[in-house]
Amino acid sequence: MISVKEIVEKLHLEAVSSTRSLDRPVAGGYASDLLSCVMKGAKKDDIWITLQSHVNVIAVASLIGLAAVIMTEGNRPDQETLNRAESEGVTLLLTPRTTYTVVGALNELGIKGNP
């Protein structure tokens, strides 16, 4: 199974929090900007791709045990969000690219969505 680290390298992502757990394997992928959709559709050990960059992203990622979160289109989390991510052990990855492009690249790496 591909690790968060390999994704960071192949997609040139910027890892900004909880960078210690980059060896974690990624089971699948999920993309949405609606938190309730993520609560419903994303599974444990998935990677989540979103435009959102506020602190509630961390709560959602931690509650469902996501492997990492990719924030797209250059959105950057504020300090409070970074602190919370660090304390909850949530790995945040940043990219200037769009959600569509990132999902396409992840698919090519073999990361599939839940059926």
């Binding site: 444990k44 509630n56 961390i58 509650l63």
Partner: protein, 322 residues
């Protein structure tokens, strides 16, 4: 769900443990004027393979059993340590994590690192063996602490006997406090984990309590309260607020219906899925509300999924609110 190997405890510890927790303190030191013959005795008596060389409280080098063997071969055994010691000293700071030491061992291919404090004074010495021993100790400590608290929590319902034992956890939720969103549900999730609930049940509790918590933050005028009552077989989560209340509960339950204002939707809330998510995760759910008065939401989740069918009385199945 696929079984995924977790990030190992060892990897975590290598980054978290400070060097001072694994290093050898009370380091045997030698002076540069010590002879190699004397050094041989010092190493033998203390059962060590090397020592830092200190002159007037200042670290000036390091001498090892390898240097001693070379001196023996060259017949230079009467030489002072000063002549045979290595002056290239690889140091690490005591407050750095063990990973820094591991990197230096790999980079410099040395057998020992000198550990110094902030002002550069020698406080210890570190070998590969010290790291292995330190990690093993830390792991067993960690393991025991977690095992004990898990064991205690798991047996709480057996240890405390009554006709009906329950544990009540209350969380206050402030209105519009988005920065704290998910805190109550995280704590609830952790409590269930400690109590040894199965992962699928924990996930259902996490999702439904998060949605309920966010509803209080987004909609309730003065916030509200989450009361989770844990019994050996079942968990009841109740959220209560004092307004504004829901004018049409049936409409509120329908998928996609939301009254959240735009600024809240921009944060990714208000998808009109919250109550539907709760309903999907709960074994039983009831939403009661009166416009102008307040709202009460009751959620019931059975902690042992296999027990659901036997213990669930008729009608305690997911249902539409009246």
């Amino acid at each position: 769900m696929a079984q995924v190997p977790k990030f190992t405890k060892i990897q975590e510890l290598i980054y978290e443990l400070p060097i001072e927790r694994v290093m050898k303190k009370n380091v045997v030191q030698v002076s540069p004027d010590t002879t190699m013959t004397e050094l041989k005795e010092i190493l033998r008596v203390n059962r060590i393979s090397g020592a830092p060389v200190v002159e007037e409280a200042r670290l000036v080098g390091v001498i090892s059993i390898e240097d001693l063997i070379k001196a023996l071969v060259e017949g230079d055994i009467q030489a002072p340590v000063r002549k045979r010691m290595t002056t290239q000293m690889i140091t690490v700071r005591q407050d750095e994590s063990v990973i820094e030491a591991v990197k230096k061992f790999t980079q410099y291919k040395v057998g020992r690192l000198l550990v110094v404090n902030e002002s550069g004074g020698l406080t210890g010495i570190l070998t590969g063996g010290d790291i292995t021993r330190g990690l093993l100790e830390a792991i067993s400590l960690d393991y025991h602490a977690e095992e004990i608290s898990r064991y205690r929590a798991k047996h709480i319902f057996e240890d405390i006997v009554s006709d009906q034992t329950s544990l009540i956890l209350r969380y206050k939720v402030k209105a519009k406090d988005f920065n704290s969103g998910g805190r109550a549900s995280s704590k609830l999730k952790r409590a269930l984990d400690r109590l040894g609930a199965v992962p699928e049940v924990i996930r259902r509790v996490a999702i439904s309590s998060y949605e309920a918590e966010m509803n209080l933050i987004i909609h309730a005028d003065e916030g509200g309260e989450i009361i989770a009552e844990l019994q050996p077989e079942v968990m009841r989560i109740t959220t209560i607020d004092h307004g504004p209340g829901i004018p049409d509960v049936k409409e509120a339950m329908s998928l996609g219906f939301s009254t959240a204002p735009n600024w809240i939707r921009e944060l990714g809330f208000g998808a009109g899925m919250g109550l539907a998510n709760i309903k999907r995760c709960a074994d039983f759910m009831k939403l009661e509300s009166k416009a102008g008065a307040g709202t009460q939401l009751d959620i019931v989740i059975y902690l042992r999924p296999e027990a659901t069918d036997e213990t669930s009385p008729q009608g305690e199945k997911p249902q539409e609110p009246a």
